[in-house]
Each structure stands twice: as structure tokens, then as C-alpha cells.
């Protein structure tokens, strides 16, 4: 046994102490570990025959903290650097840019040298120097060859951190994916902004920035300058504010639509009635000046938003769908106004006020429906936000006082009566109750809570009154963390979405080119070649007007709204549905990775099994079962080992009285020796008995049989005589076998990874039906085993819960942490299962598949609309059909609106899908 003090860097609080201690204790052979964040060290007692110092250090580093080794010149920094501000400066000089990056995790000058060397090796970097004292890297680089993201990646790949601040803002006034791209571009051009992700359906922008160079008001101004509204991201009582904003948008578009509808009807009747000779239409509506006035009202009120949007965008050199609509409606309106007030000749007697009015009416209808349906896609977040309690009752000077939930502080004693909502997270100090946690975990059966139990904010107290001490409040509560995780996931773009965004971003330009070409074709070739004068009536005697109408139709039908909506809206609904079922998916990228998985690896302890050993067998050789169990329990009473605790628990369950023993002696790796009533009691391995001169040969068969069944067998002796055998085992969760069965049915190969010996591991695997066992794997080697599976060409998901699983979760293609898992495991995973139910792993993968399929369907429909609609709008069918098949611009507007609505409605079907458990 050896005692060592390991110096640790990065511990900030008692939580860190707990994490480091648990990491060390997780290593086999470590009997004691006590971390002290003030001293920055952990005291560890370990058995040198079982483990070594390096293994313990690796386990601590895997938990996210730095181990400082005095003999080492440059300690290896681990992940999770302390976030500090990044300083970045830009200087344009001869096309080169200068950037200063704040680095975390450097511990000596050679760290700085390492980073400097790596940065200088990047192509496009002219010079890079790293200052250890200031923790800054100054890089001069060519922006056409390399971007700051590469520097960040390089630094983090070396094991250091790049610090930056992040803000999430609520953006209003976006109408399509192009708007989101425009805002992203404007933000990225702003000095001091490192990265910007703007989500159109979520109406949210997540910005990584340098607070020394740019402030949040500056960022907001940048967004406003491009023509959008912006407000600080929802901190609290966001549900109401977001709901209000959405309702306002719905109301605005509804009023716009009603005005457009009321005016478009008489305009259309008048304009068309005049051309078609409809006598039922009153003459007043056929008057050009009346039509002009009505159409002008449509353009000025419901149509103004498109022209305003275009103007604001063009001022910053940006184009979006507003430009398409403004060009189309503006052209139809302008030519009609010219025809009304100028004498342009016989061919120009015709006006197109109806076209302009109907276009605006249909597009506003589309926006109205989109606003309605978009609200439903973010329902999950709203529901989660709505779960939070508004007030809490705390005990002040012995009296209960009701206060807003925001004012509850850590350590306040909170009183909750039956039927009330638990306002914040905490630990019960008084009372007994059952709590409905279904809103957070999805678990429908109420969970019993007694003194010492943890309670989660937003859950409902069902039966008894309890008092609890608040442990997490505000942004730290489980609910707030879940909301943040889901929001982050919804803002993060999937690779497939980035592709769709690029297409949508270039689409506007492509459409204008197409509209120009279409105009040229019909003006110079089509009008004469396809004999438009004779085949068309309706006053279309001007080649310009005819070509213009076709060109407008192309502009209108090509709006890339549906393409831009296809992916983010599916991710929103998918992740939202996951959150409702206790499955947190961290972003769109995971969905794509989950689609490709073929192997699922389960950690054994705590994931497939309950993680707590239970007494399973007592085989007496001398005396009764209870005698043997009593002896074993006496011996283990002083032990803190989980196996000892299981024996003690088993004895208590059988009502056996367990007195205290004297002279407790733990023999590491072998067992325990105690003196009781003048007798010497031993409990432990074969080796312990052999070392004490006991013959265990007659027990071998029984011991092997127990071990073959995955149990840990221990021999009990009293006064140098074998008394019996005790077996304990970490029992399987009730749902493990079902989870494996489901995954098999889905076509996955299922493996189990464990540190247990082959025989025990095989026995467990057999019980649950696992086909591949990775046994005798040291905690730090789990990631290596995952790597080996990946080297076989497999796409691997790792399901685990412990600190030691964190590296393996990171190494796997998709890391799945179960909710009972540690913070580190949850941090390392890409999918988090809130419930402690392994069946949710299959559910999560199923949901990922469903969501990705929905994205694909949406993209298909979006591209289908455009690829069919654009050629028809351009008049491709005209030469081959009689009468000629040409799309009216108003029909094009209706089709365009329909495409966005179709995509949204198709996505909403995902909400109806039941994730079978």
C-alpha cells in the first residue's frame, strides 16, 4: 500500500474535489482518495500490486483535470480548460490578417513553444508567436488560405484550450434561410466575432466573440443594421416573452393577409373582368385609376415588408427572398402604373394590378401559415420553459415566506406541499413523499423521496409535505440545463443543413440569372417562334409584357424558403420530441452520425447492471446459512468496499444482528481479517485462504460454478476452519435484456465492455444476449477498445455513465450517456438519456433515424417543387401543349407558399410518431 499526493490543476470547488476523488477511486486498487481544491492536490492510497501512479493520473486526467508532475517539463493539459476571455485583434495589411488568441491550459514555456511550432506549420500562416505569460498567441496569416477556426482546432488538438465568450440573441424579421446566412455573413465580417450560427426557424443567433473588441450592443447593432430586430437571449420567464413575440408576428401577418385579400378580390375581378368582358363586375372596379389606388394600398401596407427588407439588405450588399418578391411585384406594378398614366401604345393598354395584388396576397398567406406552424415546431422548448415554477416558499427565521423562484438562493430551505411544484433542485431534509418526475425523466411512476433524496425543480410533489435544501438554482437547475442543451442542439447546424444553406444562399443569384435568361429567350426567340400573338389572347400583344410575366413567374416560384426550412425545422421537432421523452440530442450532426451506426457498445457496470452488488448466494460448509452470513457481515462491517456493503445489506435484510468486530484489517486485493469474540474471521479470495494455510480444494467446483455465472465468490473462515462461501453479484437492470433485444432487432451488433474477467463478463453477456464481449479492459483502455472496433470499419456508439467512460464516449462516433451518469460522462456524450433506462438508447437511435429521414423527405420536397416549378414557370411546356401551358405569377406565388407549408406540415408529422420503448 502506498500513499501519494498528486498535484492537480483546475479544481475550483467542492464539486471538482468530488469528481477528482471519484476518478481516482474508480481505479482498481485505490482504497482512498481525498481531493482538496484549495491546496490543489489529491491524497491517494493505493495498492502497488494492483495499480500504479500513472494509471491513477490517467484516470484523473480523463475526468477533465490537469495533473501537475514536477518531474515533467511540460505537463499534458487535459480538456475542459477554464474559460477566459479571448483577445483578438485584426489588422489588414497587404491582405494579411493578424489575430491574437487567448489560450488556456499552458503550464510552462515549452507548452508555448509547442503551440507556436504547430501554428507556424499551418499553411497560410506567415508568423506565429505564443507568449506564455500573457497566455496569448499572435498569428499573422493569409485569410484566403486559412481561417481562425483552423488555429483553434490546431490548439485544441494539442490539448490546450481557446477561450472565447458566447452570447445567444433572439433575432426577429427573418423570412428565409438566406436571411440567416446574410446575418451570419454580416456578423462574421465584424471585427471581434469569432463565429456566428444563426437559426432561421429558431430565430436565434449564437455568437462566439471577443469581448475586448466587440460588445453585445455592437453585435446587436450589426444585426439591426442589416434590417432585422434583435433582443437579448431569453434568460428567464422566456416562455411568455417568446410566445408574445410569436403571437405578434402571427397577428401582423394575419392583418396583412386580410388587407391583401380584401383588396385583391376587387382588383382581380376588375382587371380580369375588363379583359374577359365579365359584365357582372361593376364598372367602377374596371377603372384604371380605382385599380391603381387599390393596388397601391396593397403595395404600401401588406407589400411594404418586402420592399423594406430588400432595401435594408441591398444597403449591405445582401439579397434574400424579399428581393425576388419585390422584383416580381414591383415590375408588375410599375408597368401597370405606366400603362395607366402614360400612352405607351396599343399593346400597353393592359394593366397587371391583379398580378401584383395576388402575388402579395399569396406570399403573405404563406408567411402567415409559416408563422403559425413555426410556433408549433418549437413547442417542446416552450413546454420545458413553462414547466418552471413561478414562486417558491422558503423558511426565513422559522417562518414560511413566498418569494419569486428567481430569488431562491442555494442553501435556502424550501417547503413544498402535496400537489405543488418543486421550484428548484435540492436535497430533502425533512418529510417523506412521492414525486412525479415524468416531465423531466419521462418516468411515469412517482419516485419516493425521503431525507437525503435529491429532488428536481419543476417536478410535482404528490403525497407528503417536504422541506428541502436548495442545491441548484437559476441557470444551474436540471431544467435550465436541459433547456440550454436542447436550445444549443437546435442552433447547431447539421452538415446536411450547411449544404442546404449554401444552396439556398446562392439560389437567389441563380434565380435572377435564370429570370434574365428567360426574359431574353422569350423576348428575342420564343415570342416570335412560338407564335405567341396568335396562341394567346388576353391583350398580350407586347413581347416585352409577355416575357416580363414569364420572368416574374420564374422569380416568384423560385423562392428557396422550403430548402432553407427543410433541415432546421426537422432538427427542432426531432430534438424537441427527444426532450419530451427524456432523450437529449446535442445537435444535428449527431443525427447524421447515428444514421450510420452499426455497433453499440455498452459499459457494464452502472449501465447494463445496477452498479451496486447484491448478495446472491450463501453456501454453508459449517453451520447454517445465517451463521455464515453473520460471520461474513461481522467481518465486513468496518469495510467500505462495495462487496462488503452488499454482504452487510444482505445480512440486515435477513434480520441478522451484526455486532462490531475488533482489529479490522483490510488485505488489499485479497479480503478482510477481523477478530471477534476471540475468533479470527477471514473473508476473501482463494489466495487469502491458501496464504493462511487453509485447504480450499473441496470448494473449487462450487467457486467455479458461481464465477461462471458472473458472481464474485468469497470464502468465509472462522478460527482456521472454512465456514462457507458467500457470493455477490452486480445484478442486471430489468430492462437491459430488452434493450439489447431491441437493438438486435434494429440490426445492430451489440458489445459489452468491462474490466471483469472473461468468465464473469461472458456470464453477464449471456444473460442479456450480447454477442461480443470486451473483457478485462482497464478503465483507461476503454477508448482504445472503441478505437479498435472503429479500425475494423465499424461505426460505434458507446453507452456509458462513469467518469472512466468519458474518453470512450468521446472516442466513439456517438457517445450516449445515461442520466444517472456523472457530469463528465454527460459532457463527453452527444446523446444524454435522462432516465436511467438503457432501452432509451434504442429510442434515441430510432429518433435520430426518423429525424434524418424527415430531413431527407423535406429536402426532396423542397427541391422537387423548385426543379418542377422553375422549368414550368420559364415556359418549357409552352411549345408542347395546346392550349399553351404557362403558369400565372399568382399561381406561382401560391405554389411557393405551399412548398414551405408542405415542408413544415410534413415535419410536424414527426410529433405524432410514438417512440416505442
Amino acid at each position: 500500500m502506498e500513499d501519494v499526493i498528486i498535484k492537480i490543476n483546475g479544481m475550483m470547488c467542492s464539486h471538482c474535489e468530488k469528481t477528482v476523488s471519484e476518478a481516482a477511486l474508480g481505479v482498481k486498487g485505490v482504497s482512498k482518495a481525498k481531493a482538496d481544491h484549495k491546496k490543489g492536490e489529491v491524497k491517494v492510497s493505493f495498492d502497488t500490486k494492483v495499480t500504479d501512479l500513472e494509471t491513477i493520473k490517467s484516470a484523473i486526467m480523463a475526468s477533465g483535470y490537469k495533473v501537475i508532475d514536477e518531474g515533467e517539463a511540460c505537463p499534458l493539459p487535459a480538456g475542459q480548460p477554464v474559460i477566459r476571455q479571448e483577445a483578438k485583434q485584426e489588422a489588414r495589411e497587404g491582405g494579411l490578417k493578424k489575430i491574437s488568441i487567448k489560450i488556456t491550459g499552458m503550464t510552462c514555456a515549452s507548452c508555448a513553444q509547442n503551440i507556436e511550432k504547430a501554428l507556424n506549420n499551418i499553411e497560410g500562416v506567415k508568423s506565429a508567436s505564443v507568449n506564455f505569460s500573457f497566455e496569448k498567441a499572435a498569428v499573422e496569416y493569409d485569410p484566403s488560405k486559412v481561417n481562425p477556426k483552423t488555429f483553434e482546432d490546431t490548439i485544441t488538438s494539442l490539448g490546450y484550450g481557446v477561450a472565447k465568450s458566447e452570447v445567444t440573441l433572439k433575432v426577429g424579421g427573418m423570412h428565409c434561410a438566406s436571411c440567416a446566412i446574410n446575418i451570419e455573413n454580416a456578423l462574421k465580417k465584424t471585427g471581434g466575432i469569432v463565429n456566428a450560427d444563426v437559426s432561421f426557424p429558431l430565430e436565434r443567433a449564437r455568437i462566439a466573440y471577443d469581448p475586448e473588441l466587440v460588445s453585445v450592443p455592437d453585435i446587436k447593432k450589426t444585426i439591426e443594421d442589416v434590417g432585422y430586430t434583435v433582443s437579448e437571449q431569453l434568460e428567464k420567464s422566456d416562455a411568455d416573452r417568446e410566445q408574445r413575440a410569436r403571437e405578434e408576428e402571427i397577428k401582423r401577418q394575419r392583418i396583412n393577409f386580410i388587407i391583401a385579400l380584401i383588396l385583391a378580390v376587387p382588383i382581380s375581378l376588375g382587371d380580369m373582368g375588363r379583359n374577359m368582358g365579365w359584365t357582372f363586375v361593376p364598372d367602377i372596379f374596371k377603372n384604371d385609376y380605382v385599380l391603381f389606388i387599390l393596388a397601391t394600398i396593397v403595395m404600401l401596407f401588406p407589400g411594404r415588408q418586402f420592399f423594406e427588407g430588400t432595401y435594408k439588405g441591398l444597403r449591405h450588399g445582401m439579397t434574400d427572398m424579399n428581393l425576388l418578391i419585390a422584383t416580381g411585384t414591383g415590375a408588375a406594378y410599375t408597368i401597370s402604373v405606366a400603362a395607366t398614366f402614360l400612352d405607351l401604345g396599343e399593346a400597353y393598354k393592359h394593366t397587371y394590378y391583379d398580378t401584383a395584388a395576388l402575388l402579395i396576397m399569396f406570399i403573405v398567406l404563406g408567411r402567415y401559415l409559416e408563422a403559425l406552424t413555426k410556433g408549433r415546431t418549437s413547442e417542446a422548448i416552450r413546454k420545458l420553459m413553462g414547466l418552471a415554477a413561478k414562486t417558491a416558499r422558503i423558511v426565513v427565521n422559522g417562518e414560511e415566506k413566498e418569494i419569486p423562484v428567481e430569488d431562491v438562493k442555494v442553501n435556502d430551505i424550501v417547503v413544498v406541499r402535496p400537489g405543488e411544484k418543486i421550484p428548484v433542485d435540492g436535497r430533502v431534509v425533512e418529510g417523506l413523499t412521492a414525486v412525479d418526475e415524468s416531465m423531466i425523466t419521462g418516468e411515469s411512476i412517482p419516485v419516493e423521496k425521503t431525507v437525503g433524496s435529491e429532488v428536481i425543480g419543476a417536478t410535482i410533489n404528490k403525497t407528503g409535505m417536504i422541506k428541502f435544501r436548495a442545491t441548484k438554482v437559476g441557470k444551474d437547475t436540471a431544467l435550465a440545463q436541459i433547456i440550454k442543451l436542447v436550445e444549443d442542439a437546435q442552433t447547431r447546424k447539421a452538415p446536411i443543413q450547411k449544404l442546404a444553406d449554401i444552396v439556398a444562399g446562392h439560389f437567389i443569384l441563380a434565380v435572377h440569372v435564370l429570370a434574365l435568361l428567360t426574359f431574353f429567350f422569350w423576348f428575342f426567340i420564343g415570342f416570335e417562334k412560338f407564335n405567341v400573338l396568335t396562341t394567346f389572347g388576353m391583350g398580350l400583344t407586347s413581347p416585352f409584357l409577355f416575357s416580363l410575366l414569364i420572368s416574374i413567374t420564374v422569380l416568384i416560384i423560385s423562392c428557396p424558403c422550403a430548402v432553407g426550412l427543410a433541415t432546421p425545422i426537422a432538427i427542432m421537432v426531432g430534438t424537441g420530441k427527444g426532450a419530451e421523452n427524456g432523450i437529449l440530442i446535442k445537435g444535428g450532426e449527431v443525427l447524421e452520425k447515428a444514421q450510420k451506426l452499426d455497433t453499440i457498445v455498452f459499459d457494464k457496470t452502472g449501465t447494463l447492471t445496477k452498479g451496486e452488488p447484491e448478495l446472491t448466494d450463501v453456501l454453508p460448509i459449517k453451520g447454517t446459512e445465517n451463521d455464515v452470513l453473520r460471520l461474513a457481515a461481522i467481518a465486513e462491517k468496518g469495510s467500505e468496499h462495495p462487496l462488503g456493503e452488499a454482504i452487510l445489506k444482505g445480512a440486515k435484510a435477513r434480520g441478522i444482528d451484526v455486532p462490531d468486530a475488533g482489529e479490522f484489517n483490510a488485505i488489499p486485493g485479497r479480503g478482510v481479517e477481523v477478530k471477534y469474540g476471540g475468533k479470527r474471521i477471514l473473508i476473501g479470495t482463494r489466495k487469502l485462504m491458501i496464504d493462511n494455510g487453509l485447504d480450499i480444494a473441496p470448494l473449487n467446483d462450487k467457486l467455479e460454478e458461481l464465477e461462471h455465472n458472473g458472481k464474485t465468490a468469497m470464502i468465509v473462515s472462522s478460527n482456521e476452519e472454512i465456514a462457507g462461501i458467500i457470493a455477490v453479484a452486480d445484478t442486471l437492470k430489468e430492462t437491459s435484456a430488452e434493450a439489447v433485444r431491441e437493438l438486435h432487432a434494429m440490426g445492430f451488433s451489440v458489445a459489452m465492455i468491462t474490466g471483469d474477467n472473461r468468465r464473469t463478463a461472458d456470464a453477464i453477456a449471456k444473460q442479456v444476449g450480447i454477442d461480443r464481449v470486451l473483457s478485462e479492459v482497464l478503465p483507461e483502455d476503454k477508448a482504445v477498445e472503441i478505437k479498435k472496433l472503429q479500425a475494423e470499419g465499424r461505426k460505434v456508439a458507446m453507452v456509458g455513465d462513469g467518469i472512466n467512460d468519458a474518453p470512450a464516449l468521446t472516442q466513439s462516433d456517438v457517445g450516449i450517456a445515461i442520466g444517472s451518469g456523472t457530469d463528465v460522462a454527460i459532457e463527453s456524450a452527444q446523446i444524454v438519456l435522462i432516465k436511467n433506462d438503457v432501452r432509451d438508447a434504442a429510442k434515441a437511435i430510432r429518433l435520430s433515424r426518423l429525424t434524418l429521414n424527415k430531413i431527407k423527405q423535406n429536402l426532396f420536397w423542397a427541391f422537387f417543387y423548385n426543379s418542377i416549378g422553375i422549368p414550368i414557370a420559364a415556359g418549357i411546356l409552352d411549345p408542347f401543349t395546346t392550349p399553351p401551358c404557362l403558369l400565372n405569377p399568382a399561381i406561382a406565388a401560391a405554389a411557393m407558399a405551399a412548398s414551405s407549408v408542405t415542408v413544415t406540415m410534413n415535419t410536424l408529422l414527426l410529433k405524432r410518431v410514438k417512440l416505442k420503448g
Partner: protein
Amino acid sequence: MEKKLGVYSLAASLSTSIVIVLLFYILALQKVNAYPGVYVKVDVYAGMVYVFILSMIVSASIWPGIIEKRYSVNMLQKKVSQQDDKENSRLKT
């Protein structure tokens, strides 16, 4: 410098649009001469306005990117050659 790049982009966009409009005008005049009853001057003028708007939108979207890229490449080459010159003169001395 950015202001200068903006002026270049505007000039390039205007030039491109004017060339396209002129092309339209020349071709349209031929049509007016060939089919006097069908194509009239108003068609040509209205068409020119429409073509100018569309081509301005297209070229104003394309040129700024091209000019900015060109500018940074040129400046980089200039910088590199300046450094080479400095290095050469240092070696000579």
C-alpha cells in the same frame, strides 16, 4: 480600402449591366426593324429598364467577391515579392 473596393465593385457592376443593356438594345432594335408591327420602341425601352435592374442585381452580387479575392491575392504577391527583394538585397550586402 474597403470604400475603394466598394467603388470598384459598383463600377464593375454598372459596366457589366450597361454592356448587357446595350446588347439587349442592339438585338431589340434589329427585332423592331424586322417585325415593325410586333416589336415597338416601348418594348425596347421598357425591356432595357428591366434588363438593367436584373443584371445590376446579378452583377452587384458577383463582382464584390471577385474584386476582394483578386485584391487580397495581388497584395499577397506584392508582399512576397517585396520580402524577396529585401532578402536578396540583404544577401547581396
